[in-house]
Amino acid sequence: MKEITYINPVLLIAVPLALAFIIPILKFVWEKSIKWIPVAGFLFDLIVSITLIPIVLQKNIIVKIGGTTTPFSINLVVGPAGLLLSIMISLAGFLVAIYALKYIQEGDKTKYHILFMLLLTGAIGVVLTGDIFNLFVFFEVLCISSYALVGYLGNRAGIESSIKYLIQGSIGSSLLLVGIGLIYGQYGTLNMADLAAQIKTADSISLFVPMFFMITGLGIEAAIFPLNSWLPDAHSSAPSSISAVLSGIAIEVGLYAMMRILFTIFAAESFMGFLLFLGVITLLIGEMSAFSQNNIKRMLAYSSIGQIGLIVFAFSIATASGLSGGFFQMISHTLNKALLFLATGFMIYRTGSMEISSFRGLGKKMPLTALFFTIGTFSIIGLPPFVGFASKFLIFKAALAKQELLFIILIAVIILTTVIEGAYFFRIIQTLYFKESDDKSSKQESAITALIPMFIFALLILILGIYPNWIMKFIHSAASELLNKMSYLRSVLG
Amino acid sequence: MDRNQIGKWLRSPQKMSNKYSLHAVYFCTGCGIIEIPPSITTRWDAERFGIIPAPNPRQANLFLITGYVSLKTLKAIIRTYEQMLEPKYTVGFGSCPINGGMYWDSYNTIKKLDKYIPIDGWIAGCMPRPEAIFVAVTHLWTLIEKDMATGYIKYRKNYKQYRANQEKIYGSLDWPPLYK
């Protein structure tokens, strides 16, 4: 078979990592350019990831680092699922970096850009790695940089929630580490494929305990219901560009890691029933908490919890269509929530308040920002012709395809949450457009560098909403990769 | 009574119907009104002659001014009279509308009602009995028959003068002139 040449996926991690460390040096040379570094880095990642798509669709790319063969080397497994997420990450990273050009005005910008790059690099590492310990390492990179970024503004609320996040996050990390340790102790390997090959089914207690440890550890970052208490604080007090990334990327990466472990390593079909409920409860709690919020960022943060719940639900259906729905929902959530946070960022910046009531009349003052915000809300509620509709549609379809009463009941609950979601998001729309503001000052549109990423997000939301078929093939293969343990094993172990 | 002479009906239906369908405004100005209830109920039964009290001036064509007319009442009388539809007939009942009667030197009663609205006939007495009403009605029939009950035409012709008299008492009236 003819070998196809492609860019080494290692560069996806290596280039941003290297750039991140160049930043402090560059600071002394050409300070003005540092804010362009993340832009460049993630543009590169985005292009590389996109060029990899056709190859990955044929077979997974295995990259071995450290010379030895699998299962003993550190390796990257670039499958459709990983690549899908890495595209999302680099896209979000690229656009948010553009946004940050103007948005980040205060604090030590150098730190911001380094941490931002590290955060997303960690995320890319998590989704691309084929090794359970590397997963932990990248995960820690992600987490630690996000702790720091949450407290970036240095105000009281930021620091407080950063500490809270740190405490809970480190408990999570340690639980994860304990889990990994237990597994390693039993099987003597850290390679996911190798582990998966050895663990046929998760039935013994010695397997369950590490599984629970790992799930709990990852579940904290993935913001599943009882473990997500850090999220509202952290997301609401971080700078909006960071909130966008945290909401749109970080928790989804955590969820992906969790699902990868559950599906690939443990093949824990029986655990999915539990996750189903957990997902719906997360959804319910998230949306209900968001319902009566007056602080917009908190509201969006709670809404993220809800969305994660929906994704968990979709994954837990554990059918190909369910997983496709989950992945699609991930994409749509990334786009929607990033857009919402970015728009909110400048809205808060202009009004100087996070209270929804202070956004009155912004539809007049910041027409484009408000329009993008509106598109984001319509999409997140799931109104056609936006992308949120397609994803919710897929999830409903997958759940109903099971043809069980249980799923109908759960879907009824999901409908209830969607109604609640509609209620609070439409309230904001009304505030933006249909309430008169007190001060009559003229237009104060967001900066052009902020509008461009918002525009791209909005455009993607609309285009993917109308033509979801364009990415469905990719998503299907991602879903089947995650679901189909054996083909993963074959592709990694040869 | 020529009510059932069909020939007359065919010749002058207007006159005949005006004669035999006298609906009176049920308007109580003074003590004379006390004579109206017996005349329209069982004892004297005015309905025999087609006379019934009408609920409002638009539907009536007979105006019985029963008793003294105070300044305040006069306003209402003028208004009511003007709202009645033509042809319309007025009868002053009792001596007070004629010349003030026992209120001849009262400061707030009208002495001569026909200065303010035209009167087609008078029933003198204080107080006249119900029979007098019927006598007045038969006289009115005759007047109608002979085209002499023309108070309303007089009112229209001499409206300026009547209006001037009315305004002399009140200064100015609330409503615009009936005729230009």
Binding site: F212, S229, F274, L394, I415, K435 | D174
Partner: protein, 613 residues
């Protein structure tokens, strides 16, 4: 593909209006009128066509647009009323800010409705349905202030409805493996009855909410009264009729006659709901003091008639239901426009207690309102008569006297509130502050004139619309009605409008001649009026305040919108509950850590003890 290009053209046009309107204010109005007229023309030219096209592929579903007699009639009504109300908007919206946004959304709503009736499969039906929902939401909110809670109510009900419809569509898809309407109608007979009922219930929630069937009506009165009047006309005239379209589509196209007739329990329930929907809103309408809210309740009640017609399921009733849809669209739009004209001239007053005597100032609007009300009541020689006659007749002769009673008594209620509306706005004393009110401008008069003409025209020649409707019910599988130009022939009592018309005409001429032969009457003004001998006190000599006071006292004690109260209470309860839930996030990090460890501990504990996973 002509249908698809039409939709694309319309969408592009809508955006064009918005962006052109930003820079060239006059152009947007011209564009809006031209585009809506072209849409009307397109649809009118599609008469008699019957085809469907695949225009898009969405997540593995083939999306179709199709046209046949059934959707043509609805599409024509939509585009026609859309065109008229946009013309009406020209002066109504002239002084308002941000009317580019208004025109764009107006077109969006029209296009979305057009999409609904032209949809050839359920997925595109749903997509257009949702587009309609949110664009309607934006339009209802347009007037700000008290419009905001109204539009919230609307959108929440709407989301509930559309999601349940989505579930219904997907459930049906799982059973039949298709969403294309023409295929569904063949496959549906292989599905068992329970599933059909389940699907019908799910769809009925969606359509019932749009059609404002009790108990789903609560969004309608506030939404209709708070929306801009030209849009209220659309809202009441056709938007809620999308529910009717949906019901017709579900019952007679997808499920089909032979199955729906065997679901007797279901149809009885729906009929009873329809009867309730006729009676209660009618009496609630009598109690209203806001002109548009009164009309809104009236819309709910009339929607009940339509619903009764289409769920009763005989050919007369279905024909009557469809015809009543058409008629209601016309006369209710007319009445909303007339109220809109009043609102426009009085700078936003629509409180029935403070108006009066406008007949002297706006005689044309009065005539329009009168004709509209006559149609609404269903007086002979107006269109409403024929459709109601059809419904009543079938209800009586098919042995449902109680339903017929609901329908007939509803008509008397209709008289009461219609008269109240007319009296309190146009009759009685004109308050002195409205002395200088001007006549309605031409762009308002024109739509009203057209609609009034149609009411009379259809009333005298009901055969013309009934021929179209005949084709529709034949396509549903019914026997055609025996329709002549002037009425309906059947073995149990005919209807012949020409007799009534001729008699009316002859008697009318005779009476008018008789009337004219009397003495010419003198014209007097409103102050020359019987007031027990005194000159009438201005501003006080009017009986518009609480017109039906005794009835109000009687009804107020027990007649309330209990369902709305229930919904509001439960919404408050949910809000309360949500606030409680939020307390989980205590803000104290110790409890958070406890959650985490507890979660882990419980998982391990449960697994150790019972091995559930």
């Amino acid at each position: 593909m002509i249908l698809f290009y039409m939709m694309i053209f319309a969408f592009v046009g809508a955006f064009l209006i918005y962006f052109a309107g930003k820079s060239f204010p006059r152009i947007k109005e011209i564009l809006a009128v031209v585009i809506s007229f072209l849409l009307f023309l397109f649809v009118a030219l599609l008469y008699g066509k019957d085809f469907q096209i695949n225009y898009h592929n969405f997540l593995g579903f083939h999306l179709f647009l199709r046209i046949n007699m059934f959707s043509w009639l609805f599409a024509l009504t939509i585009t026609f009323l859309g065109f008229l109300s946009i013309i009406f908007s020209l002066s109504y919206m002239k002084d308002k800010k941000n009317n580019a946004f208004y025109y764009m959304n107006m077109l969006f709503v029209n296009i979305a409705m057009l999409g609904i009736v032209l949809a050839g499969d359920l997925i595109s039906f749903f997509i257009f349905w949702e587009i309609m929902s949110w664009s309607t939401f934006l339009l209802i909110s347009y007037k700000k202030g008290s419009a905001l809670p109204a539009s919230m109510k609307y959108i929440i009900m709407s989301i509930i409805g559309s999601l349940s419809m989505l579930i219904g569509i997907l459930y049906l898809y799982d059973l039949t493996d298709t969403t294309i309407i023409s295929q569904l109608s063949h496959i549906i007979r292989f599905i068992n009855k329970g599933d059909v009922i389940f699907v019908v219930i799910l769809f009925s929630i969606a359509f019932g909410i749009k059609n404002a069937v009790i108990p789903f009506h609560n969004w309608l009165p506030p939404a209709h009264s708070e929306a801009p009047s030209p849009f209220s006309a659309i809202l009441s005239g056709i938007l809620i009729k999308m529910g009717v379209y949906g019901f017709l589509l579900l019952f007679y196209v997808i499920i089909g006659l032979d199955i729906i007739f065997h679901l007797t329990g279901l149809t009885i329930v729906l009929n009873v709901l329809a009867a309730i929907t006729i009676i209660f809103p009618t009496f609630l309408a009598i109690l209203q003091n806001d002109a548009k809210r009164l009309l809104a309740w009236s819309t709910v009640a009339q929607a009940g008639y339509i619903f009764m017609g289409i769920t009763y399921g005989t050919e007369l009733s279905v024909a009557g239901g469809i015809f009543h849809f058409l008629n209601h669209a016309i006369f209710k739009a007319l009445m909303f426009l007339a109220v809109g004209a009043i609102e426009y001239r009085t700078k936003g007053i629509r409180d029935l207690n403070s108006l009066g005597g406008f007949i002297k100032k706006m005689p044309f609007t009065f005539a329009a309102m009168l004709i509209g009300a006559m149609g609404l009541i269903g007086l002979p020689l107006t269109n409403g008569f024929v459709s109601k006659w059809l419904i009543y007749k079938t209800l009586i002769l098919n042995g449902s006297p109680f339903l017929a009673f609901a329908a007939l008594i509803g008509t008397w209620g209709t008289i009461l509130y219609s008269y109240k509306l007319i009296h309190n706005i146009f009759l009685g004393q004109l308050p002195a502050k409205f002395e200088n009110i001007q006549k309605a401008p031409f762009s308002m008069k024109m739509p009203m004139m057209i609609l009034s003409t149609i009411i009379i025209f259809f009333g005298i020649l009901p055969g013309i619309p009934l021929q179209f409707i005949n084709k529709i019910i034949v396509s549903f599988g019914y026997h055609p009605l025996n329709v002549s130009l002037f009425g309906i022939v059947s073995d149990s009592g005919n209807l012949n409008i020409i007799n009534i018309l001729a008699a009316t005409f002859v008697i009318g001429v005779l009476i008018v001649l008789f009337f004219r032969s009397g003495r010419k009457s003198v014209r007097v003004d409103q102050y020359d009026n019987y007031a027990a001998g005194s000159f009438i006190p201005k501003e006080k000599y009017s009986y518009t305040n609480s017109f039906y006071a005794p009835l109000d006292r009687f009804l107020n004690s027990f007649l309330k919108d209990y369902i709305d109260i229930f919904y509001c209470k439960s919404a408050a309860l949910i809000r309360h509950f949500c606030n409680g839930i939020r307390k989980i996030y205590t803000g104290y990090v110790g409890s958070y850590v406890m959650y985490i460890l507890l979660f882990l501990a419980v998982l391990i504990f449960v697994q150790l003890n019972w091995s559930v996973f």
